[in-house]
């Protein structure tokens, strides 16, 4: 495996996903779990952007350095970037929802320890 930019970025993204999942599975505190989920989703974003990267090319914005006629030969894939923009925005919304629910849970039991919530346990 060559040490190219897209390989480094993809490895880092996969590592972030694993770190986030490990934290979400082992932590007991709901706030820490929420932070771990955001770390994992950042990892997914990094992997997606790395998939769209082509070696030696530049961002898909046309200006003096990237003339319109040469665009197809000079730019990287714009589709994953558009997808990641959407994913980031939805991720912010999901984080806000998780925080609001965490607040509601704290209000009912006065604790954020997930082990104290026994309602769904058998």
């Amino acid at each position: 495996m060559a040490l190219t930019i897209s390989n480094i970025a993809m490895t880092a993204g996969f590592l972030l996903i694993l770190i986030g999942l490990y934290g979400a599975l082992t932590n007991r505190n709901i706030l820490r779990m929420i932070v771990c989920f955001t770390v994992a989703s950042t990892g997914v974003h990094v992997v997606l952007v790395a998939v769209g990267y082509l070696p030696g090319r530049t961002a898909p914005i046309m200006d003096a350095a990237v003339p319109v006629q040469e665009a197809a030969a000079r730019i990287i894939d714009p589709v994953p970037q558009a997808l990641v923009l959407t994913a980031i925005v939805i991720g912010v919304g999901i984080t806000a929802l998780m925080l609001a629910y965490a607040y509601k849970l704290y209000e009912t039991k006065h604790t954020l320890d997930i082990g104290k919530y026994m309602e769904l346990k058998w």
């Binding site: 190219t4 996969f14 990267y53 082509l54 914005i61 806000a96 509601k104």
Partner: protein
Amino acid sequence: MIKRFLALLLLFGIGAIFITLLLGYTPDTELNLTARYYADHTAQDLGAANIITAIIVTYRGLDTLGEVTVLFLTAAIVGLVLAHNRQHSGAGQRELPPSGELLTTGSRLLVPLILLLGVYIFINGHLTPGGGFQGGAVIASAILLILLTEPTKRFSHRLIAALESISGLFFVVIGVFGIFLAGGFLDNRILPTGTVGALFSAGAIPIIYSFVGLKVGAEFSSMLANLSETEEP
């Protein structure tokens, strides 16, 4: 202990999948068919310099409308979930220590500049790496700075809701204009596309993205206001 072991086992499994994906991955050397179409046609057809903006606002405009709807739904649910304790905790506010001189003066200086930067980012969304979502987030960060300086400050929910619904309405109305004046829903060619790279170019893209920016800024601000208005029970 057994739980931690199981978690590690699961992670090893997922990690093995990731490693196979990573070893089998070879980056493309050419753009694929979809990306090539966007690269070749964006400038001539839509007049936008930023291809990502063209994809988000025009080619996939309907998806963006859905995305903005999801965001609106999130803001509405956050408001709904946190609404109850606003009623009975309104009176008994606890005293907060005053925020420092640096924070107060700094936020007085920075808030207008941050707002200006947000507006700049979403007006130039078709030219620079920016756009409505980024600009809206920057505007909401100015609101966050105000809340940090003055945690008891209350924003008018009616104003935020009005701003949000009006920009959402204009977004859809401009999209419907596209059906009658151009090729279809959310087509940006209802206005002249102009020269690539000019501020007044790319048809309706800057206008739509400005409304998206206002809407996203209002939604994030309402989430921040709702979260800050919750008090210790």
